[in-house]
């Protein structure tokens, strides 16, 4: 019986996309990278014996204790030193940083922050972009012109200087460190919606030109319903690709901000601000374990998103037969 089923009737377009995606080896690698990174960042901390801010000290006798488990010692006591810049060991798999915190644990928390910011910012960008792009494309005329000029403006704004100005403003208004992350995501979202808006607007405009839209008009279906119904399948694949690739680029940007000290603020862990220590040439030379792992984490995670995004783009494109 199995020999005679008519594939064209049974197989859905979604299945075809999935199959093309699964055939792309790089995309599969990307999926595994991302899965690993999610587990590492979100499940990992559960198994970690230390917390994000736990600091480690040595007593005068050389016994190690931490700020969470003081073992009866006083961190401020005499002869107590901070257990910083320790080389990787059994207790600290990747050593400790210059303030005596466990690097391996901080990597997990850093991943949590990076991935969360990535999600939130991309979600924000897409929502804003789809809404404004949709309005521009649907109403056209003056509204369209206004929104598109706004898009041009956003497009031309050099993000890094703006971010630096905003960060010094935050300092001037003495915004607490804990709130800075929200500002960071907000600004990143506001700066990144322009390309999504362009995409959605372009799709709507080309849809309006197409004959099947005229046909639906003739049948009297409500315009918004029409647009939504035909727009979604046309623009969804591209949006998914943009969102995936966007996750990677947001993580990269956030890392750069954190590296410059205007992103995720201390004492929160972030891969970007963990690499920041390389500005100290001695650390750059002697303590590779302090900056190489977070840098690799950024690289691998962003690469994962790019692999998956690239694979999705190929899979969605019916022309990319193989």
């Amino acid at each position: 019986m199995a020999k005679d089923i008519n594939l064209e009737k049974v197989v859905t377009p979604g299945q075809l996309v999935r199959k093309r995606f699964l055939r792309n080896k790089l995309a599969i690698v990307g999926v595994f990278i991302l899965l690993g990174m999610f587990l590492f960042s979100f499940v990992g901390p559960v198994f970690s014996p230390y917390g994000e801010y736990t600091m480690f000290y040595f007593t005068a006798e050389g016994e190690e204790f931490s700020s969470e488990d003081t073992k009866g010692y006083d961190p401020a006591g005499s002869g107590v030193t901070i257990a910083n810049k320790q080389f990787p060991s059994r207790t600290h798999l990747l050593g400790t940083d210059k303030d005596g915190r466990d690097i391996f644990t901080r990597l997990m928390y850093g991943g949590r922050i990076s991935l969360t910011i990535g999600f939130v910012v991309v979600f924000f960008q897409i929502t804003l972009g789809v809404t404004l792009g949709g309005i521009a494309g649907y109403f056209g005329g003056k509204v369209d012109n206004l929104i598109m000029r706004l898009v041009d403006v956003i497009y031309c704004l050099p993000t890094l200087p703006i971010m630096l100005i905003i960060s010094s403003l935050l300092i001037a208004y003495s915004i607490p460190q804990t709130q800075k992350i929200y500002w960071l995501t907000l600004v990143m979202g506001l700066m990144g919606w322009a390309s999504v808006a362009r995409l959605v607007r372009g799709q709507i405009l080309s849809l309006r030109e197409q004959e099947f839209m005229v046909a639906t008009e003739a049948t009297g279906i409500h315009p918004i319903k029409r647009i939504v119904k035909h727009l979604v399948p046309n623009v969804m694949p591209q949006l998914i690709v943009v969102a995936t690739m966007g996750m990677g680029s947001v993580i990269l940007t956030e890392a750069a901000y954190s590296y410059l000290g205007i992103g995720v603020p201390f004492p929160f862990a972030s891969w970007g601000n963990m690499v920041n220590v390389v500005s100290d040439t001695i650390i750059l030379r002697e303590y590779i374990f302090m900056w190489l792992p977070p840098g690799l984490c950024i690289l691998v995670t962003v690469l994962g998103f790019n692999f998956v995004g690239d694979g999705l783009r190929d899979a969605f494109d019916p022309k990319m037969k193989r």
Binding site: A2, I5, N6, L7, E8, Q15, K19
Partner: protein
């Protein structure tokens, strides 16, 4: 719902099998293509009839797709006599274009492959089998001895090169001994030959500056510039409007006589066939259903499909309530039935039609039909 998921699972499994077997098959053919230094003896052959320029024998061209094997050309035999015009007729998707691309070895790999059959070409230096001929050798034949006119004049010319340069290129390639100035002269002569009035001006135009009809003329000039022995015209007039159509056909016929070439004319327009062709081959779902002299086929069509085709052509000066159309549609090329492919659409079908796929049989000297309703020699 449960049944559906079971079916879906089955489909996924099947698709995996298809992908696996496709990969192996495509690899086999592609490595075969990559072989270097194929000795000439491997593709030399002899013509069945030395008066033919081309003999297509049992040609199979398959496309290995994710959905299964598409049997685009499934055992086709065509003979093209020297200096004659053969028309290949059928509805879209019946394998006409793939047949012509197979002759040029231009079927897009790796999914499209010629899997079986011979295409014997009567080369002046000795007949060869195009299927086995390496690409390197084909490059001396393409555009030189066999040339092709494509269906889409709007997109078939390279937009960034001037018209003149594109024709010059072909002449320079196949006639390296022609001097540079003479190449240009020759090109302009060709442009004039296809009826372009200001050939000098068109020589330095870009394709987008010309109309569709002009571009098709340029395409024809390009394909004729090396005096080919055979011209494959793949729906040369479909994209053009009616007045231009007539001009282009007229032109092709004149030129054919001038350079004494044979033409394989691919079309779905029966009017064109009647006007141009000496022989007609009717294709349906990758197979030939009827072939013969165009006189015979037009006046005395046998196969129900041919009859349907002729009936569905509008005739001037004749009042009909409703134009005839053949009911139903072409069978799925992946899952071809094991009875006559036309049976489900045929108004004359009866019990005999379930007994296997009908062979092409001579019902007359110059007339063959593949239908269970006709017996050998039986009019």
């Amino acid at each position: 719902m449960a049944r559906k998921t079971a079916e879906q699972r089955e489909a996924v499994k099947k698709m995996r099998e298809i992908a696996k077997s496709n990969k192996a098959v495509m690899k086999k053919y592609e490595t075969e293509k990559k072989r270097k230094n194929v000795p000439a003896s491997e593709y030399q052959t002899t013509m069945k009839n030395p008066n033919n320029i081309l003999e297509i024998d049992n040609l199979h061209t398959y496309f290995y797709t994710d959905m299964g094997i598409v049997r685009s050309v499934n055992g086709v035999n065509i003979e093209i006599p020297q200096g004659k015009t053969v028309a290949l007729v059928g509805e879209s998707g019946c394998g006409k274009s793939v047949t012509s691309l197979s002759i040029m070895k231009l079927v897009r790999g790796p999914s499209g492959q010629i899997t079986n059959g011979e295409i014997r070409y009567n080369r002046p230096g000795g007949a060869i089998d195009i299927v086995k001929t390496p690409i390197k050798e084909m490059q001396t034949i393409r555009g030189n001895e066999i040339s092709m006119i494509f269906q889409e004049p709007m997109t078939s010319l390279n937009p960034v090169f001037r018209i003149g340069a594109q024709i010059d290129e072909a002449i320079k390639l196949h006639r390296p001994d022609v001097k540079k100035d003479d190449v240009k002269k020759q090109t302009i002569k060709m442009l004039e030959l296809v009826g372009i009035a200001r050939a000098e001006g068109v020589y330095s135009c870009f394709p987008h500056e010309l109309s569709g009809g002009m571009r098709q003329r340029v395409m024809i000039a390009m394909s004729l510039c090396c005096n080919p022995k055979m011209i494959i015209a793949d729906e040369p007039t479909t994209a053009l409007d009616v007045t231009i159509q007539a001009q282009v056909l007229e032109l092709l016929r004149d030129l054919k006589d001038k350079i004494d070439a044979s033409i394989l004319l691919i079309t779905h327009d029966l009017g064109v066939v009647a006007e141009m062709a000496d022989y007609v081959v009717v294709m349906y779902a990758g197979r030939i259903v009827e072939q013969g002299t165009s006189h015979e086929v037009f006046l005395n069509p046998k196969h129900p499909y041919t009859i349907g085709l002729i009936k569905s052509k509008p005739v001037v000066n004749q009042v009909v309530d409703r134009l005839y159309s053949i009911p139903g549609s072409v069978p799925n090329p992946v899952h071809l039935p094991n009875h006559c492919y036309f049976k489900d659409r045929c108004d004359k079908a009866d019990g005999r039609c379930n007994s296997g796929i009908p062979e092409l049989r001579n019902i007359d000297d110059e007339h063959k039909v593949a239908c269970h309703l006709y017996k050998e020699g039986n009019k």
